[in-house]
């Protein structure tokens, strides 16, 4: 870790003022991603602005029937919050599928959105990586790429976004509220994370001088027909190879509304309007689920070690939609996939 300075933000306005005044500075919330990357010399901030004591730690109902989650609400508190357990159980399930309870106690809602890829080369400063050092090349494209993306990749970067929570937030059509020197703005979840294109150094559309203040959920929570299915190399405490957040609104046997978001396969949680649209109005049955799965993966492209993900993702989607339709969501403690 390099030397750096430390300052605590006294309030939201002070945090924005401090970050605007120092281009080398970074916010620190739970620190679970930033400190890790600083120890690896991947992140080298000149100053840390501690936002962990700012009063952005409430989960509250909004006027339009949704829920507003403060950026500093710890992942564990959010997963177990009564409003989330009762109305957005898919979100709680996705959070509990990630990391460990110690890490979830530390990790914040805002920090989870901004966690960086787990690509080995991104972590290894001895190797070229366009995300870490623009223009240096991508070591993964012709290197070890078992964990890498199969959708939306570019020649510059094939990294995945590692968050579980974000996959559920994408499926739920969440919105991200941010504040910067120019004032407040709201970013839809679909527009928050970016594809790598030729600028993989930018993970999101948040400006470096903006602070996330909250994540807002719309009223529809899919509390009855949902699942979060995470496939990984060991049963717990491992990042997803493929994960699926699936949510259905059913009218009898027919699908009125469908949401499918994929984790572990792209630079951002992956949704596909065409595939979701094709499910709407159809019967909730295996044939239609398979059709949607094929549609979601139609542009998938594997690399030397990860083509298995294409089939794995298709099967995980079918299984997840089946779990959602039956109202039998994946348990995050009994790992048997039913």
């Amino acid at each position: 870790m390099i030397n750096f300075e430390y300052a605590r933000a006294s309030d939201v306005a002070d945090a924005v003022r401090q970050i605007a005044g120092d281009p080398g500075a970074k916010f620190i919330a739970g620190g679970t991603n930033l400190i890790d990357l600083m120890k690896e010399d991947v992140e080298r901030p000149s100053r840390l602005i501690d936002i962990s004591r700012l009063p952005l730690n409430k989960v509250e109902e909004t006027a339009d029937g949704g829920v507003r989650i403060g950026a500093l609400v710890p992942n564990s508190d959010l997963a177990y919050h009564p409003l989330i357990e009762q109305r957005y159980p898919m979100l709680g399930s996705a959070i509990l599928a990630g990391a460990s309870q110690q890490l979830r106690n530390m990790a914040s809602t805002g920090g989870n959105l901004l966690q960086r890829t787990r690509c080995y080369y991104f972590y290894d400063t001895a190797t070229p990586c366009n995300k870490r050092e623009p223009g240096s090349g991508c070591s993964a494209i012709n290197g070890l790429n078992r964990m890498h993306a199969i959708l939306g990749t570019s020649e510059a970067c094939i990294a995945t976004h590692p968050s579980d929570m974000c996959v559920a937030l994408a499926a739920l059509d969440a919105k991200v509220q941010v504040i910067g020197p120019a004032g407040e703005r709201t970013i839809s979840f679909a527009d928050f994370h970016r594809l790598p294109w030729d600028t993989p150094q930018r993970d999101t559309n948040l400006e470096p001088n903006e602070l996330i203040t909250a994540v807002e959920l719309p009223a529809q929570g899919f509390r009855t027909n949902y699942t979060y299915l995470k496939i990984r190399d060991r049963l717990s405490y491992a990042f997803a190879l493929v994960s699926v957040a699936a949510a259905l609104e059913l009218e009898g046997a027919r699908i009125k509304e469908a949401r499918v978001a994929l984790g572990g396969v792209a630079h951002k949680p992956w949704r596909d309007a065409l595939a979701e649209g094709a499910l709407r109005g159809q019967e909730a049955n295996p044939a239609n689920f398979r059709r949607a799965a094929h549609m979601l993966l139609r542009d998938a492209k594997g690399f030397a070690h990860n083509t298995f993900k294409i089939d794995l993702a298709r099967r995980a989607i079918v299984r997840a939609l089946t779990q959602a339709a039956r109202g039998t969501p994946q348990s995050q403690s009994n790992k048997k996939i039913r």
């Binding site: 030397n3 400190i35 890790d36 600083m38 110690q102 106690n105 348990s331």
Partner: protein, 169 residues
């Protein structure tokens, strides 16, 4: 092919150390720490509380688990300055008046370790687990203890020890 890269680093002079106070195992401990001193290093190197172990130093093993304001966290990914004023409980603070904490006793009763390196973290993590009150089944204990790796593979006995202590609490 991979090639060594040298990256220009900003040179920042070592800032003044910051004065903080941690309440460690019930006692106020004033400290002067650099911004980059982790809570783990502060406990081990500055306060000589070497019960808390450093395994991976990256949040991946749980050996460094302590309780901060009653919640289990990884002290290796926590900067000490950020916890100014907090109450920290380490393995050294669990026994009371010479009597082992029920979890310490349960780990002995069930032979829940071999080398013992992961044990302080396991026990502090289990104290947090019981306080959270979310684990009701063996599956749930296993899942909510998954942040603590045991290289010796003492898992079945660790789970049995935690079950015993849960039954008592």
């Amino acid at each position: 092919m991979a090639r060594a890269r040298t990256v220009a680093r900003p040179t920042i002079p070592a800032p003044e150390k910051t004065s903080i106070v941690l309440v460690v195992n019930g006692a106020e401990r004033p400290l002067k720490v650099a911004p980059w001193t982790t809570l783990l290093d502060a406990l081990r190197d500055y306060l000589d509380l070497t019960g808390t172990k450093k395994g991976c130093d990256h949040g991946q093993c749980g050996a460094c688990t302590v309780l901060v304001d009653g919640r289990r966290i990884n002290s290796c990914l926590t900067l000490a300055v950020t916890k100014d004023g907090a109450h920290v409980t380490t393995i050294e603070g669990l026994a009371k008046d010479g009597t082992l904490h029920p979890l310490q006793q349960a780990f002995i009763d069930h032979d829940a370790f071999q080398c013992g390196y992961c044990t302080p973290g396991q026990i502090c993590s289990a104290v947090g687990l019981i306080a959270e009150g979310k684990a009701k089944t063996v599956d749930e204990i296993r899942e909510l203890m998954s942040g603590n790796i045991c290289r010796c593979g003492a898992y079945p006995n660790i789970v049995a020890a935690i079950e015993q202590a849960m039954g008592q609490s």
